[in-house]
Symmetry: none
Subunit: 206 residues, 4 copies
DNA sequence: GATGAATGAGCTTTCATTCAT
DNA sequence: CATGAATGAAAGCTCATTCAT
């Protein structure tokens, strides 16, 4: 490797590094102050970089958020969709949603907390997030298909999707904020799944 | 009624009217942009009033929000607490929470939507809201008492409260955003109650 | 006196009364906050009157100040001028200025303090005040005349006038702010006069 | 000097230059309108800079004033205190105060004029200024000590300090505003000193 | 590509003043 | 003439964004 190549390499490393610095700083500030109360200045102040440098990497704080979600949330959004089409029955359908969601919440709790506390802001720019993926349109479509196939029982799709979303999100949040974590993730997943399933079964005629 | 009284009356009417104009404008903007993205100017621009006039009525946008909640949210928060202590069993406990909450969501859907989308901001100034009341500390306390009395089954209180909160809020939101409202409120309440109750019963050993 | 006359009388009394209320309030606020930091609102808040009423009597806070000075300061300004032309020698010239000035400072200490602390502002609108009257142009003229007549010794007029002004004002201020007022006004006047006279005599050749 | 160094240098020069522009503009406006009537916008309007730029340098107009005083007023305040403790008799005590004060007034007449016209405002933020140093507390203390040591005659300390302050300030102001400056500074200092000294000597029994 | 000062739009807030009542 | 709400100009200040260096 000659000198020029080394320099180029160094530069690219530095570039990647600065990008990461900004994203990490962004996550911290988003958590502390919420998305809409965060300013570009807040983010850049948490780094050692100059304010102008920010704009070499991002156009706005929203782009920082999107970048923070990118690696993580996109993948998990896709996984949720991939998983649920493999389900053969109600139990599997629910479990295949709940399990990856809880794992995501545990492994990327910062991101999860930001999304959970700032749904309003997140919705205003159209990013695919797990929250969104669990939501209305995509899920509804798949649920309808599954009903047609006889995999899910006939029921009010809107309410079922709402249940899926809010129970899973709510319990996941409760799970990761529980300090006395004697409860482990498998139990939490099991409880969440079981709760939804039994609730649905007991109310099929609605 | 003499002339002076008429004058006073006209003025007071105008004052009350302007106050309402501002509150209504505030509700609209809060709904559109979220609380923290709303500026005083946004609100006043939605009225025909001058900027300075805003400060004759409110010190800040937060005061507008509080005024919008007043009468409504405060009372319903209290009612939720009053009702649940009257419950004699799980069904009643859940039903007594769900019913007034859905009714509030239906009757004051604007306020409900604002609260639902801006929980973060609402929490930062200490207002009693139904959301808050359904939440953590107060509810937990009452649930614990009810368990002691044998009214509620032994169960993980954190998860139960999470279920209560997220299922009720989520279904209420789904209920009021359903445009094709063939479903009526009583059915919605019944479904929500039944869902929670049967879920809890099927998972009592957790 | 018939009813109509009574009403008119009452109204005029009320009018005079409101005027006084505003002036008194103005003096208080000017003392507390200084002229330029005082707002019309500050003044009107100190009364029981409505803000609009202010403008039935005065166009601005400056007019309130002028009114506060009117009765008092104008007269004393005139007296200073009247007195000094009667002087037959240096001692009398100084004494005839110092005496009424100290008496004014004592009898109208509020006004005196306001003038003293806000010379800058007072100068910007052209009011005749004792401070101003002791000053430059008028005094200089009379001093020059007195020198021509042989009543005052030949000396630098600018410096003499400065001495007259600053010593008299400074000692008057010291006199009225001295809490342990064992010193009485006659002694203070005597000291001030004597100080100026002996200083001038010792430096006639300048 | 390489390119980077040049850049940095150019920027720092520009920064220093802008800072000076603002300070100079501030001094002008303070002189024209007085401190409390001056707004940040007044100052910035006197420059070619944008409003936001002001806040890159100063937090408030007061900081501009402090910056304008820096180096100059602080030092001279200290000098006044240092000098007077070296005095061996009344003449020296007075002379050691008057001389540096006149020199300061001559060399920094803008600053002197601002201080002189805005004592009220200057006092409200606690900056050491020569005016302050010539004033009440510090001076009084030193005068009392000097009397104990037999360096100054027994006399009313309040009146003596008032004389010191008002005569020196008043004559210094007169000196620098005299356009026909045939009078030189040494004569002015001599006159001022002599006036105070002879006045004090002639009135020792007060 | 990094820097950070300059910019100016836009926000919150106050206030003198007007004017319908 | 008294009232006090409405007005809008103008102040202080922040911030996203640009751009010379």
């Amino acid at each position: 490797m000659n000198k020029k190549d080394k320099n180029i390499n160094k530069r690219q490393q530095n570039k990647a590094n600065n990008r990461s610095l900004i994203i990490d700083a962004g996550i911290k500030v988003f958590l502390e102050k919420g998305i809409s109360n965060t300013t570009v200045r807040d983010i850049i102040r948490k780094t050692s970089l100059a304010s102008g440098t920010f704009y070499n990497y991002f156009k706005s704080k929203e782009e920082v958020l999107i970048a923070a979600l990118d690696d993580v949330a996109i993948l998990i959004g896709q996984e949720l969709r991939d998983q649920r089409v493999k389900a053969n029955n109600l139990e599997e359908f629910v479990f295949f949603q709940v399990k990856p969601f809880f794992e995501f919440a545990q492994d990327h709790s910062d991101i999860f907390m930001i999304l959970n506390s700032n749904l309003n802001d997140v919705q205003s720019f159209n990013i695919e997030t797990p929250m969104m993926s669990l939501e209305l349109e995509y899920l509804k479509e798949d649920v309808n298909k599954a009903i047609e196939k006889g995999i899910l029982p006939r029921m009010d799709v809107d309410y079922f999707c709402a249940i899926m979303r809010y129970v899973t999100e709510g319990l996941a949040l409760t799970f990761i904020t529980k300090k006395n974590s004697k409860s482990n993730i498998d139990e939490a997943i099991k409880f969440c799944t079981s709760f939804i399933v039994s609730g649905v079964k007991a109310n099929q005629n609605v």
